[in-house]
């Protein structure tokens, strides 16, 4: 900016700068080392307090998962395919397992399907609690950071009992799940999920019904229904814009058909609605878990024994599930070997990223955290 020349006769006085259009615009690098960015950079151009241009720059945690998957067989892919989103690791393995089962032609036992659903729903809550904690701290609400992260421990404890690991479970395998649950898991799960639901309802007073939060996030970053469809957004972003689309309902996988739950849809399409949908989903997840615990067969095998290096047919599959952030799909191309020829992990965060420049342009800088994080965006997952 300093090397710009001024028109003749309009030289700036010492200490003063003439206001030119270009001088009004300041470039702000939000991230990757910024308390409000996550593992990504958002290049903003601000005019005063208004964002005039937004360019998301992901890729800081790109690990080449898709390339790595081409070198590993269908079983050894499991531990590293869950790495992009370790808080939701069951859900990111879900489409992979469904797809490989379709490739290999395996039918999973009934109990394993229920266990998968329970693990996936617990994991969705774990992810959403973490997300909600960061949303809270982004809005300067430190209690809303501590409470979800603390209550998340209830579910982590359950998943720990179930799978043997706190976050990277490696629990789903093609053909079922790795192990059956321990003896009195049903009672413990029911007790902790009930308490968790009670805690979730307590969030309303300090957060979701808080007039300051509502005034802060209402009518900010409004994504209209048409734009949400056109931009191909998914998950909570889509459902907050009034589109009733949930893979669990629309394309039910495993036993979601038999379970009793509903899809949460809000019409507003603003940050508040986008941030409320995951919370409502968590309450719904508690219902699903209770229902699944009730309907689950009390015993039975949970895992189909596979060969150490199974081989898929010469075909391709495209399976999708509803993860904590939206539709998570895997496009697995097989050429008949024990290793996949190509895996495309189509992650919801990456699909929702396209809405970010659309929403942030024209907003105030103060709206950056709520709009950015209400997109339910997980940088590590988007980078894969």
């Amino acid at each position: 900016m300093s090397d710009q020349t001024y028109p003749k006769g309009q030289e700036a006085l010492p200490g003063l700068q003439l206001e030119k259009v270009d001088d009004r615009i300041m470039t702000l690098n939000v991230g990757p080392q910024h308390p409000g960015s996550g593992h990504m950079r958002i290049i903003l151009k601000v005019d005063g307090d208004y964002i005039v241009h937004c360019d998301p720059d992901p890729g800081y945690v790109h690990r080449g998962e898709e390339k790595m998957a081409e070198y590993r067989n269908y079983i050894t892919n499991i531990p590293h395919l869950e790495r992009p989103v370790i808080h939701d690791s069951c859900n990111i393995l879900y489409p992979y397992c469904l797809g490989v089962e379709e490739l290999l032609g395996i039918e999973v036992s009934e109990r394993a399907k229920y266990l998968r659903v329970i693990a996936a729903e617990l994991n969705r809550c774990v992810y959403t609690e973490y997300w909600l904690g960061i949303y809270g701290i982004f809005l300067g609400h430190s209690t809303m950071f501590m409470w979800p992260v603390g209550d998340r421990e209830l579910l982590i404890d359950l998943l720990d009992k179930m799978t043997g690991a706190r976050v990277t479970h490696a629990y789903f395998v093609p053909g079922g799940v790795r192990n059956d649950v321990p003896a009195n898991f049903e009672d413990v799960c029911l007790r902790q999920v009930n308490y968790f639901e009670k805690r979730l309802k307590e969030y309303a007073d300090v957060f979701y019904d808080n007039p300051i939060l509502i005034s802060r996030t209402k009518d900010t970053g409004v994504l209209s229904r048409e734009d949400a469809i056109k931009l191909g957004t998914t998950g909570s972003v889509l459902r907050a814009s009034g589109v009733d689309f949930d893979i669990r309902k629309k394309e039910p996988y495993d036993v979601y058909e038999e379970l009793d739950f509903q899809t949460n849809v809000l019409k507003e399409g603003d940050s508040y609605a986008r941030s409320k949908i995951p919370w409502l989903d968590m309450l719904e997840s508690c219902r699903i878990i209770r229902d699944a615990l009730q309907k689950m067969p009390k015993s039975g095998s949970v895992r189909v024994k596979l060969k150490p290096k199974p081989k898929g047919g010469d075909t391709e599959v495209y399976r999708r599930v509803e993860s904590g952030r939206g539709a998570l799909a895997m496009h697995i191309v097989s050429d008949g070997n024990s290793q996949p020829y190509r895996i495309k992990i189509n992650v919801p965060s990456f699909r929702n990223l396209i809405a970010m420049p659309h929403l942030l342009t024209g907003e105030k800088l103060g709206n950056l955290p709520p709009v950015y994080w209400s997109l339910n965006y997980w940088p590590v997952e988007a980078d894969r």
């Binding site: 409000g36 701290i137 300067g140 609400h141 209690t143 957060f207 300051i212 005034s215 105030k364 103060g366």
Partner: protein
């Protein structure tokens, strides 16, 4: 051995210490004692209770503590003591430190966690000291293109201005550092310094995030000073005085918050905004602008700003108490001292050592009562200043300005009308019924 840690031997250390002590003794005897002699020739000895306090008298008092009592009492009436210790900086800093501890523990309880725990054995009571030590020992980094003198001076100015604010607060009857007739105006003047210091430090850092934070702080403080001042006009009308001590004395029967709850609410919200506390901590909004105007401060410069802001918190809470909650007024807790203590004195350890201290109570019972009530009320107000941090998110800058200009100013005028109605209705105020 590495170069960083030079050879260490205990003998060298002890030798160094003894050497230093030796030279200090030599220098004091050779230069200090003659200097004191020379000074003693020229100064007048203080006269307390008709007694000249010459050096021999002082030495005498050192051997008999009870004889030093008049000196102590006299010292406590000096401005120096008031500034450094009781109603001034020391007292305020103590309360500020307690506030930081209470804030951490209370927030932790609210968030179902523990808070500071290990430092100091008992519930982490020494955590603040540890943090202070850490801040002192940290390197001070100054941005290369910063305006260095301004950058250096702004944290000092901030703490000093907060200290000046503290000096205006009357704590107990007669215990105020600066008893100014236009005390409330002085308060407004001191508050007016804060945005200037903020913008100076933000500008001198020559960095983007401090700049945005400084501009936000300027907006926020300027727009909230108007309702702040307006909300206090009602009290000035009712008391007919700007002197803070007189305002407190006017609330012997009832605190002004009974008649002016609207003004109290407006003033409280303005306090939150002026203190940059959640929900109005926009100048330091970390998720948007890193740490706002504090981004480039490091080490003890940051520590000074924090000290200043907690002093400011205490001062504002105390101002609320003084203006709305009746200051030191309250029912008697400590009864008046029995007369014999004052006249005959207390006997310390009757068998072993008989020392009769006459006029022992250093403070009058009014003063102790007043201080207790003042501290209780201030702690209550501080609790309500701290609580929003646990339950509210941050507001946005335009909403903040809207609250300031549209709502609070209107409410402040409503408060003024209430005050006018009370005055012209002849209910209270100069020559009123009550």
């Amino acid at each position: 051995m590495s170069v960083i840690a030079p050879k260490f031997r205990l003998g060298y250390l002890i030798k160094g210490i003894t050497d230093n002590i030796f030279w200090i003794i030599v220098l004091v005897t050779l230069m200090g004692i003659p200097a004191i002699q020379i000074v003693l020739i020229y100064i007048d000895f203080p006269v307390i209770d008709g007694e000249i306090w010459n050096p021999f008298r002082v030495l005498d008092a050192m051997t008999h503590p009870e004889r030093a009592l008049p000196l102590v009492k006299n010292f406590m009436q000096t401005d120096l003591f008031k500034i450094i210790a009781f109603p001034g900086f020391g007292f305020a800093a103590l309360i500020a430190a307690a506030v930081i501890f209470v804030e951490r523990k209370m927030l932790a309880k609210l968030q179902l966690r523990v808070g500071p725990f290990y430092c100091g054995k008992v519930e982490g009571i020494l955590q603040l000291m540890a943090d202070g030590l850490k801040l002192i020992s940290k390197e001070i980094i100054i941005p290369a293109k910063a305006d260095k003198p301004l950058f250096w001076v702004s944290p000092v100015l901030f703490a000093a201005t907060a200290g000046a604010f503290v000096a205006l607060i009357p704590v107990a009857p007669g215990w105020v550092v600066a008893d100014i007739d236009l005390g409330l105006l002085a308060v407004f003047a001191v508050i007016g310094f804060f945005p200037i210091i903020t913008i100076v430090s933000a500008w001198s850092a020559n960095s983007k995030f401090p700049f945005i934070g400084g501009i936000r702080a300027l907006y926020q403080m300027v727009s909230f000073e108007i309702p702040l001042i307006l909300s206090l006009l009602g009290i000035v009308m009712l008391t007919g005085s700007l002197n803070l001590v007189e305002i407190v004395e006017s609330q012997v029967n009832f605190p002004w918050i009974i008649f002016m709850p609207v003004g109290a609410i407006v003033f409280f919200i303005c306090i939150l905004a002026e203190l940059e506390r959640i929900p109005f901590d926009l100048p330091e909004a970390e998720s948007e602008i890193v740490a706002g105007w504090l981004t480039e401060f490091s080490g003890m410069m940051y520590g000074l700003v924090q000290l200043g802001s907690y002093l400011k918190l205490y001062a504002f809470a105390a101002l609320f108490v003084v203006l709305f909650l009746g200051g030191w007024n309250g029912p008697v807790i400590v009864p008046p001292f029995p007369a014999e203590i004052v006249t005959d004195g207390i006997t310390v350890m009757p068998d072993a050592l008989t020392v009769e201290i006459v006029g022992l109570p250093l403070f009058t019972h009014e003063m102790i009562n007043g201080t207790i009530w003042f501290i209780l009320k201030t702690v209550g107000v501080i609790f309500f200043i701290l609580l929003p941090r646990g339950v509210f998110p941050r507001v946005r800058i335009d909403l903040l300005l809207k609250i300031g200009w549209y709502k609070l100013i209107v409410l402040a005028f409503v408060n003024i009308f209430i005050a006018l109605a009370l005055v012209y209705g002849g209910i209270i105020g100069p020559g009123g019924i009550l």
